[in-house]
């Protein structure tokens, strides 16, 4: 009886998911820490326009995604605080981005399945060439993140103090959003535009509940994302249900478990301190 690793597309799927999940978990940790999860969502929407536009002019949707999300990230980074209170404007821009993507697809009727792939991902169709590109982008993104992690952490948690110590909040804000953009573009390959949250935010948010230091939180986020992606693909193989459904379901489930465990943890601590008070 053949196992799932006997199939090329399954091996490719695992390779791609491994590369993307680790990146998404690690970058997602900082995204959640900075309270910018919405930025990941927004970049994915804008990326849809880029991907469909790329299909229309005949280049790989991945490059369309990357260039569009990075451009949007730089724009958002420079707008900075001004964006914070403009939810209506942002919402409309995102809606327009999706609508524009829809129009591009309309002109390219031959790619009827392209829309579903972009919106919900299709990790089982990733080819070897794409895997190498994902690996290169992932390695570059993680390397830059490692270099800027210390000031980024400072700027994220104590912005005013970091600024006083000579850190440019804008520079790190823009740089980080570019890293988020690249990560988003990668995530779209696995779970699609609409479910980027599942890989980038779910594991990271759970990791922040389960750990209480950055040194543990970051690897935990990467590991959770990796396990969710692997298990998701495995479940998809045996149930024949969509991979993105499974990955998202696992992401939500793990987050719920983390909520429960941190609730139990704080109850336990409260009990302990109560007991030590009475002694």
């Amino acid at each position: 009886m053949p196992t799932m690793f006997d199939y090329d597309f399954m091996r490719n799927a695992f390779a791609a998911a491994t590369i993307v999940a680790v990146l998404a978990g690690v970058v997602g940790y900082f995204l959640v820490l900075r309270g910018q999860t919405f930025a990941g969502h927004a970049l994915a929407h804008v990326g849809f326009t880029g991907a469909t536009g790329a299909v229309l002019v005949g280049i790989s949707p991945l490059w369309g995604l990357v260039s569009m999300t990075v451009a949007a990230a730089i724009g958002m980074g420079f707008m900075g605080e001004k964006l914070a209170e403009r939810d209506v404007a942002i919402g409309l821009v995102l809606a327009f981005a999706l609508a524009l993507g829809l129009l591009f697809l309309h002109f390219f009727t031959a790619y009827a399945t392209q829309a579903t792939t972009l919106l919900f991902g299709n990790v089982l169709s990733v080819d070897v060439g794409t895997i190498w590109i994902l690996l290169a982008i992932s390695a570059g993104t993680l390397a830059v993140l490692a270099v800027i992690s210390r000031p980024l952490l400072f700027a994220s948690l104590q912005p005013e103090l970091a600024e006083a110590k000579g850190i440019s909040l804008r520079l790190y804000g823009v740089l980080f959003l570019v890293l988020v953009a690249l990560t988003t573009a990668e995530c779209v390959q696995i779970v699609g535009v609409l479910l980027v949250f599942a890989l980038m935010v779910g594991p990271a948010a759970a990791a922040q509940r389960l750990t209480h230091s950055v040194a543990w939180g970051v690897p935990t986020a990467g590991l959770l994302a990796l396990l969710e992606a692997w298990l998701g693909i495995t479940l998809a193989f045996y149930t024949d249900w969509p991979t993105s459904f499974w990955i998202t379901t696992l992401s939500v489930a793990v987050y719920l478990v983390s909520l429960l465990s941190s609730w139990i943890g704080s109850r336990g601590q409260a009990l302990l301190s109560l007991r030590s008070d009475t002694i």
């Binding site: 992690s149 948690l157 005013e160 970091a162 006083a164 110590k165 922040q208 209480h212 230091s213």
Partner: protein, 291 residues
Amino acid sequence: MNRAISHRKDDAVEFANVSLRLGGRTVLSGISLHIPANAFIGVLGPNGAGKTTLMRAILGLVPPSNGSISVLGRPATRGNPAIGYIPQMHGASPGLRLRGWDFVAIGAKGHCLGLPRLGKAERADIDRALDLVGARALARQHIGEMSGGERQRLLLAQALIGRPQLLLLDEPLISLDPHRQQEVVALAKTLQVELGVTVLFSAHELNPLLEAMDQVLYLGSGQAALGSVDDVITGPVLSRLYGSAIDVVRLKGRIFVMSGSYDVEQGAHQHDHDHDHAHSHEAHRSHADHV
């Protein structure tokens, strides 16, 4: 640049004919001050008088539109390691599940590139800072689960990293009840004396700082007055700073700054708490204190 006043060796901060503008509005105009070293300075004044802007100018974040600022004998520049700073709180990350120690640690060499790994010297510096503010026990707690007073202690520890000579504490008493306020003031005073540093401590109210202050820096209407409480907290000086007739009433060792029958400090305090319903009962309590 015309430096009207020459630098004195025992000055922590010197303002020479300094004007500060913020978004087209002149916050301070043509101010000259000598803030002495090794002193506790209370920074007071109505909302919008420029207390935060003044601190940001000392930090080199707001360049003066006119005049010059020198800090510990050198021109004010961004990233001055000799300054410790507690920014005004913006409800710093409620629910953040980061241990107190790690939160303080992000300030240690936080501006250097690379992974946030700490050497022996930095770890020792963090422990020392935590000990100085008596926050060793808080080191293992989550920052998101701390009370306002406990968080203020950790922020103070964070400000002490790198052994600064000058501490700028921007409204550290906001949203603390009167008892916790006294604790924070007493701690800041102890640190100022024991470490021999200069503390600039801004607040809405004068009374919590009365015992700790060596001098008061009162801001208002673009002007500033620096001196002892008896010299500065007077009807004529404050009337000039508020731009309206102010009476200073002393009662049982406390001082009330009144405009007609209205307590101006209390008004500012109350207004601030309007944004923060969770703490409004504290404002009412301290209001009742004064009645």
